[in-house]
Amino acid sequence: MTVPTREEEWAIWMRAAIAGDKAAYRRFLVAVTPSLRSLARRRAARLGLVEGDAEDVVQEVLLAIHLKRHTWDQARPIGPWIATITRNKVIDALRRRGLRVEMPIEDVVESLVAEETSDGLARHDIDRLLGQLREQPRDIVRSVAVDGATIGETAARLKMTEGAVRVALHRALRALAALHRDHGD
């Protein structure tokens, strides 16, 4: 039995994640992040942006991968799917900062091979966009993200039903993606 390549590993975890395995999903997201980071940092450096900008792009790509994970055809390799989403979001993010970007997909695929493991400090794009949400969705996102609470714990803390928290969290993430897209920088 051969050891799966890294891309195959990602696909295995993502498949499990889509079937509901949270641990596998976390493994996938954590594993994919360094590659996204290395691509974003290379692009940022070449265009004279600060490292914080690159981390914002990483977060935007992760959000897109999450919200559009069902668009991956599980019968196909996951690499091109990740590369295409990454390329789209990086181009969008850089365009919003007023830069014209040429980015052939081959560059992206190549860059996803390199890795940057150090957790970056974002320039707080997401925090700023979070500020544009209403208080309750914002509190829910912060509770889950920063405090690391589960949906159940958050529901108890905010005296809401689990279902309501789940819906609100999902909507908040979609709203963040929409805010990125429409108002960006």
Partner: protein, 211 residues
């Protein structure tokens, strides 16, 4: 927010992700139902449809319109997924064109040149270019809504192909009412109607299908 914190939120957001093929299939069904409802309420089959079904030209129209609807739907499903090449299915879009060309060739061979003008112009051209776009509204809206669940790398193109699919559905209904069956008529007026829907699909797509 640190990236590791964002990941916490993404992992915890376990709202089930929609299945794209199911969503698009449902959109096609819903759109067809909408177009059909409008068609049967306001327009209806041509009165001599039983007789028309026995001819060659009349059923042939459906071959063209249905192959367009099916091919375009197949392409749209691919366009909704990032990183999936649509090229091979794109060739499927040539099928309705080929069928149309064959029909035109057969018509030119089988009929005398003095009748070509009348066959091409027909008597329903104004109906054709208004009814087909009108009936496409439902299917196009349903398809665009479903495409918003996807991640089309080229939103305008996806909208345009959705317009093709919507046109195919609308044209199928329209063809069952129209008494101009000549391929010369179909080759002239149906593409004009379809082009209008494609342009609208493209324009809406560039705005509504961004993600």
């Amino acid at each position: 927010m640190r990236t590791s914190e964002l990941i916490n939120a993404l992992v915890e957001d376990d709202t089930a992700a929609p299945r794209l093929d199911v969503r698009l299939g449902a959109a096609v069904l819903a759109g067809t139902a909408l177009a059909g409802a409008l068609f049967f309420l306001l327009i209806g089959f041509r009165p001599d449809i039983a007789h028309a079904l026995e001819t060659v030209r009349f059923p042939y129209k459906f071959l063209i319109t249905l192959s367009l609807a099916v091919a375009a739907t197949g392409v749209v499903l691919r366009l909704a997924r990032p990183g999936v090449p649509a090229a091979r299915w794109g060739f499927a879009l040539f099928l309705p064109l080929v069928l149309l060309a064959l029909g035109v060739a057969a018509e030119l061979l089988a009929t005398s040149a003095s009748t070509w003008g009348a066959r091409l112009v027909g008597s329903n051209s104004m109906n054709c270019v208004t009814v087909i776009p009108f009936l496409s509204i439902g299917p196009l809206a349903c398809l665009l809504l479903a495409l918003r669940q996807g991640a089309p790398t080229r939103p305008g193109l996806a909208g345009a192909v959705a317009g093709l699919a919507a046109s195919g559905i609308a044209a199928t209904f329209y063809a069952s009412n129209c008494t101009d069956d000549s391929p010369l008529f179909v080759a002239t007026w149906y593409p004009i109607a379809t082009a209008m829907v494609v342009v609208v699909g493209y324009l809406i797509g560039t705005r509504a299908l961004r993600w």
